[in-house]
């Protein structure tokens, strides 16, 4: 089998995500590339949760609607999802669910009860049964449990083992591949790790889905990774605390979703004026307003690009998978510190909370160094005029200098000024840094191209939509262009990437085609757009259908 997909569903509180992760780890252990889509409503108990785990011999960056197996812990799962089953697909279900017409019923609850477990452990039974039905060796199952379960490992293993033993017949055999297992990370974990790799000292955040798991991950791993995490009273405190920390020398990142970012925008502008480096991670969710908290959208692109009053340079990057997230968060943090600007990483629920088989980005990344003050003659000037507009950085506590940072317009020392000539000169100094930023970015890959490079039809997408877009395009023989950097917009690389394509289709998960509108301002016009804004991501199978309609 080249690839297969399993849907696991139950009610919130059943440990569905944990079961999904265990399944993904098992497939990963066998050498498969996996993608896990996690779907859950905004509540703690009772609603319907499901995840789709897609395993493939090749790189896989999205799930499909169609699945080969459904693992149902409750009736609702079958009712909601049986239409997804491919021909020949099967349902594995709790035998407490009556009247199921096909598949295998197993007494998950009975096994748990008999062995003295607690109700949530039926997810271990489910994983045991799934492994047996897929012909996966027992030691692979045990190994994954041992590596990933801390609490009551033996009992969970016993429960999984009992369910495993109850299966007498293999539904279809999942072969072990030659490939080495890859680590599995969510997009958020990749963002966090990329930043730590670029020397992150401090992560500050107020919980907000779908950014929260960055905070959870870094808080849990803080000692291992050498970072500090803080959870303050609100996003305003988050962002301004981060600026203070950066002023004193700590590489700092903050993370939130659109609503939280709205509160941070005064700090965006402050960072621009005071030239304090900071990395904002904005994990978009379906808006406007509180929107649909646990579902996805790409509707904050123009908001982030235009956030903060006044004119100042900024960097905005938009990764489309975990590897790009790792690469771009590190690049953005380094660039923020080199150019002393605010930088932004745009993610969304679909990237942030999906799980990817992670490959370490190949090759050396460009690492612009911090421009440090080297001491010397005369008084330190925090905002010294230089050729590049970048003033050497010093920090309070450093001997022989006084560091004055300010939100007011200021002179070279950082003292307030209201003199027109000085105001203009300082504005020009800050804006000058954009030239250097553009020059630096030209050395990096800012735009990616996939699929048939000679195709006249080219899909233009950004962020997590890449996964579905690239897969659909490969099958239909089309081309895909994806900008990784959206500000400063890489116009030259983008036009080069479009090449001779003359039919451009913008594919975005928002209602108004925000990237398409941005591209128009550079004179690049989409011939049509395919938009999805029901709070769900594109999948390759549904996108293929819409592309066929659009191109016929």
């Amino acid at each position: 089998m080249k690839e297969f997909s399993v849907l696991i569903g139950g009610k919130a509180g059943d440990g569905i995500k944990q079961a999904g992760i265990m399944a993904a780890k098992i497939f990963g252990e066998l050498g498969y590339r996996v993608f896990l889509y996690d779907d859950y409503p905004s509540l703690i108990r009772g609603g319907h949760n499901f995840c789709i785990i897609r395993a493939s011999k090749e790189e896989v960056l999205s799930h499909n609607n169609q699945v080969d197996l459904i693992l149902a812990l409750n009736r609702e799962t079958i009712e909601r999802h049986q239409h997804r089953l491919k021909k020949g697909g099967e349902i594995i279900y709790s035998s407490r669910i009556e009247g199921v017409s096909r598949g295998v019923g197993i007494g998950f609850e009975e096994i748990v009860k008999e062995l003295g477990g607690i109700p949530i452990m039926k997810n271990s039974a489910a994983i045991g049964a799934l492994s047996a039905l897929l012909g996966i060796e027992r030691q692979v199952l045990d190994g994954v449990f041992e590596k990933n379960i801390n609490k009551q490992l033996d009992l969970n293993k016993e429960i999984a083992g009992r369910a495993y033993a109850e299966i007498k017949e293999v539904l279809f055999k999942v072969e072990r591949l030659d490939s080495e297992p890859l680590p599995l990370f969510t997009g958020n974990e990749a963002i966090a790790l990329g930043a730590v790799n670029a020397g992150l000292d401090l992560y500050i955040a107020y919980p907000m889905t779908p950014a929260t798991s960055i905070l959870h991950f870094l808080a849990e791993q803080q000692d291992r990774l050498g970072v500090v995490t803080v959870h303050p009273e609100n996003e305003i405190s988050v962002a301004t605390m981060a600026l203070g920390a950066a002023y004193a020398g700590a590489r700092t990142m903050v993370g939130t979703s659109g609503g939280g970012f709205a509160l941070m925008t005064e700090t965006v502008s402050f960072a621009g004026q005071a030239e304090i480096p900071i990395l904002f991670v904005e994990c978009q969710r379906a808006g406007p307003g509180t929107g649909v908290p646990t579902y996805t959208m790409q509707a904050d692109l123009l908001f982030v690009l235009n956030s903060g009053h006044g004119d100042f340079p900024r960097l905005v990057v938009a990764p489309g998978d975990a590897e790009e997230a790792f690469y771009l968060s590190g690049l953005a943090l380094d660039a923020a510190w080199h150019f002393q600007i605010p930088a932004f990483l745009l993610s969304d629920k679909h990237l942030s909370e999906s799980i990817f088989s992670f490959t370490y980005p190949e090759g050396e990344r460009e690492k612009p160094p911090m421009v440090a003050w080297k001491g010397g003659e005369g008084q330190y000037k925090r905002y010294a005029f230089t050729e590049s507009g970048i003033s050497p950085l010093a920090f309070p506590g450093q001997k022989g200098c006084i560091v004055k940072a300010t939100s007011y317009e200021h002179d070279e020392y950082g003292i307030t000024t209201e003199e027109p000539e000085k105001i203009m000169k300082m504005q020009d100094k800050r804006l000058k840094k954009k030239e250097g930023l553009v020059h630096f970015l030209e050395k990096t890959e800012q735009v990616k191209v996939y699929g048939d490079r000679d195709s006249k039809t080219c899909l233009v997408c950004w962020g997590s939509t890449k996964g579905a877009c690239v897969e659909a395009a490969l099958e239909l023989g089309l081309k895909v262009v994806q900008p990784l950097v959206v500000e400063p917009f890489p116009e030259r690389q983008f036009r080069q990437a479009l090449g001779s394509s003359n039919r451009l289709i913008g594919v975005e998960v928002n209602a108004t085609g925000q990237l398409s509108r941005l591209l128009s301002s550079y004179g690049i016009h989409m011939d049509s757009t395919i938009l999805r804004y029901d709070s769900l991501p594109f999948t390759p199978d549904d996108l293929k259908g819409r592309l066929k309609e659009a191109t016929s």
């Binding site: 401090l202 803080v230 009273e233 203070g244 700590a250 309070p396 506590g397 450093q398 004055k404 307030t416």
Partner: protein, 287 residues
């Protein structure tokens, strides 16, 4: 070692003649000179300010400074001290900053016991925006946004920070510079969040000089400044910020020791001295 003169800058002072801020500026400079004489290093001092008349103080003192946004004094100060706990962070805020726009930060900074000092320049009127009522203006205050008189009662900031968990609570008066200087020195040397409310007349929009001169008295040794919270609250309640027939105590109201936010968050591993960010090893282990 710096002198008062060396602590000045070339910035032109634009406070109104008679402004209470001058008294606070002098007290701060005197406190700094004394602290430097006692061994504090000038490069280790950071002043943080909000926005308003008070905030110009950072332009007038030749030390490290962070001129923040309105209301956002305490979060960046917290960030600065987390980054480098060896720094002495002295915050300046107006009553609009501390008790209006940034009141959530005040409560949480007290709750966390962040090891910084906050000096509130409380003139009980918005000066730079030309005379509106503030959170501590008396009820009925006729400002330009409340020509019929403020419809709100003032808050009592001392009671507020005491209940929020501040570990050093004091009040000074800009007309008593020597006394204020001592409060600042005590606050700076206190390990934890030091809150110093300073009564400060606004010569132009709310001239309270004679009001305070007639009512302010210094707490005697032993009258406050202990970890007796009830005593501190009763001292704070002697004047409601509204009444005119009260005497107004100044001095240290409350003082206690408990672990600071920096100690709790950082332990014995200062942020900028942490080592070993082995991401590659972490990723390998995750397989």
């Amino acid at each position: 070692m710096r002198s008062i003169k060396e602590l000045g800058t070339y910035a032109e002072n634009t406070w109104c003649p008679g402004c209470g801020n001058f008294g606070i500026l002098t007290a701060v400079k005197k406190a700094l000179v004394e602290a430097f004489e006692g061994g504090m290093k000038a490069e280790d001092v950071v002043m943080v300010s909000g926005i308003g008349c008070h905030a110009k103080i950072v332009d007038y003192v030749n030390v490290n400074s962070f001129y923040s946004l309105h209301g956002r004094v305490l979060p960046p100060a917290t960030g600065i001290s987390l980054s480098n706990p060896e720094l002495t962070v002295i915050c300046h805020a107006g009553d609009g900053d501390a008790y209006g726009e940034g009141i959530a930060h005040l409560i949480f900074t007290a709750k966390r016991n962040v090891d910084i000092t906050l000096i509130v320049h409380d003139n009980r009127v918005y000066g730079l925006t030309t005379g509106q009522f503030t959170p501590t203006s008396p009820e009925g205050f006729k400002g330009r946004s409340t020509p019929k008189g403020s419809p709100e009662r003032p808050i009592n900031p001392l009671e507020l920070v005491l209940s929020a968990g501040a570990t050093f609570v004091a009040r000074g008066y800009s007309g008593k510079i020597g006394h204020l200087k001592n409060l600042i020195l005590e606050g700076v040397s206190h390990r934890g969040f030091s809150f110093i409310e300073v009564l400060q007349p606004c010569y132009t929009f709310f001239n309270t000089y004679s009001f305070y001169n007639e009512r302010v008295y210094e707490l005697e040794e032993g009258e406050g400044g202990t970890s007796d919270r009830n005593l501190a609250v009763s001292l704070a309640r002697k004047w409601s910020y509204d009444s005119v027939d009260a005497s107004i105590p100044i001095g240290i109201f409350y003082k206690e020791q408990r672990p600071t936010f920096q100690e709790r968050i950082l332990g014995d591993r200062p942020l900028l001295k942490r080592k070993g960010q082995d991401v590659f090893g972490f990723i390998k282990e995750a397989v």
